[in-house]
Amino acid sequence: MKIAVQTKNREFAFECSHDEAILHAGLRQGLSLPYECATGTCGTCRARVMTGEVDIGWQDAPGLANLKRDKGDVLMCQARPRTDCLLRVPSNVETLAAALPSVHRGVIRSARRLTEDVLHFELSLSSPMRFEAGQFVILEAPNLTGGRAYSMVNFHPEADHLAFVIKRKPGGGFSDWLFDQAAENVELGLFGPLGSAVFRPEEDRNILCIAGGSGIAGMMAILERATQSGYFGAHWGKVFFGVRTLADCFYLDELAEHVAAARGRLEVTVALSHEDAPSPRHQRVSSIGLASGVVLEVAAQITAGSCDDAIAYVAGPPLMVDGALKMLIAQAGLSPRQIRYDKFS
């Protein structure tokens, strides 16, 4: 189907098949259509269907709540075209040449539990994917409707396998399936890479990471990229990883490797929100610090006034990210240009 898009600055047109999300089709053909979560929760990818018919997909998507559905508002990340369409998108949109997302297929090769409700799994890809540290993909499983967004935990400039971490959610179809069933050798469709909360060494800034739970995923890719390029030779890094209790920690050995490679320039602190820290450093992995409190408060105490020349990466549940953004601007004195974030719902 042909999709014509009127934006604030220009008109564009692109092809989209009946079973492809309009957002995916536009992004893979080089348009910077607006999005944030790409999974129906945030409303950023809103568009109005002026002519033509679409299947809006997930009827109860939270991102639809504030839209004028009777006037034809849809979420581009969910909507699939039934006919040729004309859409209006109330943003500036540009054409992009490099690093376009595309459709891939991946086979689950391994899955291992890290804690009671956190699992690490790896896919091997049908064709390599170029991505930046901090990006995510949308995974679609064969027996589930709708995709889920996961940030790559690993980093390689042209990766033929991708690693992810997933937290079990009550009633979460995808996480239940991975945790409970033998998912190895199952093939998934995926779309990506997506997201702009990326780390690029050439930006030459110090790194501050604030992660809530599985929000640590993209930070691991960022640290991997930084360590691979010897980045902490000339910069410092501070990572704050929020979990509920000590039993909920994971990736501590991987984090400790980055700390060791950084020779004193990288500090990692685990913030325990539901338990007092038993000691200032983790008993088994002593290069990791411990603190009591919610992660954004722990980060606030340590970063106040010392974040000039840093870029902050924030990822985690929406409330935690909202709080962290407020703290970074109001207390740590960062400007929006210095802040990159992902919110997962």
Binding site: N66, K71, I329, P336
Partner: protein, 123 residues
């Protein structure tokens, strides 16, 4: 006859936002240190209530939801911001703040619509 008293200047602390209402019109008063601004209560991006999510620092208002930001002295849009901040004319007399109100300022969310023909290509 359209200047309306909003509050005392001392009612809004430096680098903070006060919520007021005049004739049923909600108005936020922002004290950015070097001055004051009177603005509608929501962000022009996706209607986030600025009294809750707005941060004032170094003469800049940032909406912490998606980091749209405006210089409050010049009203320049910063970074990713795509829409200007609307303001009511404001003056201070005798320690009191007055805003010129000729109807409620909106961002085409309720009254008009940012995807309707008249407004789509202009704003």
């Amino acid at each position: 006859m359209t200047w309306r008293r909003i509050c005392k200047a001392s009612d809004v602390a430096e680098n903070s936002i006060g919520k007021f209402e005049v004739d049923g019109i909600p108005i936020l008063v922002v004290n950015y240190g070097a001055g004051f601004r009177a603005i509608p209560p929501v962000c022009p991006h996706m209607e986030e209530p600025l009294a809750e999510s707005g941060i004032i620092a170094r003469c800049v208002l940032t909406c912490s939801k998606h980091l749209w930001a405006w210089n409050l002295q010049t009203l320049d849009m910063q970074g990713e911001t795509e829409r200007p901040l609307k303001t009511y004319d404001l003056k201070e007399e005798g320690g009191e703040l007055f805003a010129r109100i000729d109807g409620e300022l909106t961002y085409e969310f309720e009254a008009e619509d940012d995807m309707d023909d008249d407004f789509f290509s202009k704003s």
